[in-house]
Amino acid sequence: MQEKKDMIILGIESSCDETSASIVKNGTEEIATVISSQIDIHKDYGGVVPEIASRHHVKNITIVLEECLEKANMTMGEIDAIAITYGPGLIGSLLIGLEAAKTLSWLYQKPLIPVHHIAGHIYANSLVQPLKFPLLALVVSGGHTELIEMTDHYKFKKLGGTLDDAIGECYDKVARVIGLEYPGGPKVDKLAQVGTPTYKLPIPLKDDSYNFSFSGLKSAVINLAHNEEQRGNILNKENLAASFQKVAVESIVNKTKKAIQDKGTKYLIVAGGVAANQGLRNAIENLGNQMNVEVSIPPMKYCTDNATMIAAAGYYAYLDGRVADLTLNSTSSAILK
């Protein structure tokens, strides 16, 4: 019997402020990854400035690709296919990776695999252990808060998502109110660990849907800080962080719990940058124990934006017959299908 050939995929990701390239074998085995982060550049602006991000992507793209190939000790000739994040994300940023991927696909006559950024986050888990179906995926990041059901590889069904701000965005905003530098989300999490939830904040969107809403909570934190200042009270940052985190995490856990109950989920995966949040991790793990659901949370390096997850998702996308031609375009608001 002929042995199945390995498939080596080069993944490229440039949807926000990280330029990344990665080489992954058979969707599960990371060979090499390079990530060029722009956090220090955007820090001065309190958040990602799209035009500045685009300018850095174009500067970095070939350097990142070259470093990745060197790290893998491979040449482009050894790559079987190119997987690219086509959306969603910042359009100017996405386009740099897209044009690079299209050019490589043409020059080396290799398949071009379009990967949805959220599919990437979900498939980050397959770098740790194979996905088991059916599964429920909780995607939490600076740009996304979504509950997605999967019945098989590349069979996605979005159950719900945020109606306004993403959870990570809300964390960063709260961090700014407390006076923490961008990206402040992880710092809020740290402060929350030592604080006590003494401030009263509303639990967002207590309804029957699987949707989330964080703009009201964000406003409540801003107003609370403002009112305390007006009254001449000193804001207890640790306690505010803990109060906010409690409500934010509770809102996510409640909706996830509802989805588990309704769908009879046995396997839950958490994905995206906010999956690194200790408060959320603990709460989700408790939920898993309580409901007898297996929980998989990828290691930190696969949670934040990276091309490894894109190459991993690209493998399964390819098996599902998803190959694009050179007219592939980026889109800032792609729907996961």
């Binding site: 400035v49 500045i52 070939t62 044009e99 690079a100 050019t103 043409w106």
Partner: protein, 210 residues
């Protein structure tokens, strides 16, 4: 064989030139569709002429000024191409391309509108020597500079609103054979260092300076 690419305006200007002669060229208005069509158009140009990517011995790419997003499309394609196939590459500005494409009869002033009473412009002699280096300049200031010059012509992209007191404005039509001929010996640069030259900071950087 030289590959030329310019996506700094609403138009795709690309061509393959061999021994000073155009093998194939494309000049087409695409506007916001440039990200989608540029590479397929380049590929079709190769396929229609039987040229393969490895036949190219030099890439000349326009690095701006113009549309920020547009410039990055050609630059991304060109730098990845040059890097991975080790093809010598060089950049020229859109304003230089505009100047050398125009007949050498008088002083040439290529102008690209940059909104808010600003533009990108350069002033070149009739022999294409630089008089005013490509820059981001107010129309008012440019007008003052031009008052010192007796005879000159404004060159601009078709359909662009140029706020200068000059009744006749020449519409830019790139002479890709001429452009590549003039710049074919321009020193090559490391593909990693091939980057747009926007001539303008981002708005976020500008407001930070205030």
């Amino acid at each position: 064989m030289i590959l030329y690419i310019d996506t700094s305006s609403n138009y795709l200007y690309t061509g393959v030139v061999e021994n000073g002669e155009i093998r194939k060229e494309i000049k087409k208005e695409y506007g916001h569709r440039l990200s989608e069509v540029t590479l397929p158009e380049v590929v079709s140009m190769f396929e229609n002429t039987g040229i393969t990517p490895r036949d190219i011995t030099k890439i000349i790419v326009v690095n701006g000024p113009g549309s920020f997003t547009g410039i990055r499309i050609a630059i991304s394609i060109a730098k990845v191409y040059a890097w991975t196939l080790k093809v010598p590459i060089t950049t020229i500005t859109s304003l230089e391309a505009m100047a050398v494409s125009s007949e050498d009869d008088t002083v040439k002033v290529p102008v690209i509108d940059a909104r808010r009473e600003m533009c990108y412009a350069g002033i070149f002699s009739k022999d294409n020597e630089v008089i005013l280096k490509p820059c981001y300049i107010s129309y008012k200031n440019l007008q003052q500079q031009l008052e010192k010059i007796e005879n000159y012509k404004i060159i601009s992209n078709d359909g662009e609103k140029i706020q200068l007191n000059k009744p006749i404005i020449e519409s830019y039509n790139p002479d890709i054979a001429r452009i590549t001929e003039v710049y074919k010996h321009k020193k090559g640069i490391n593909p990693h260092a091939v980057n747009p030259d926007y001539l303008k900071l981002t708005e976020a950087e500008e407001s930070k300076l205030i």
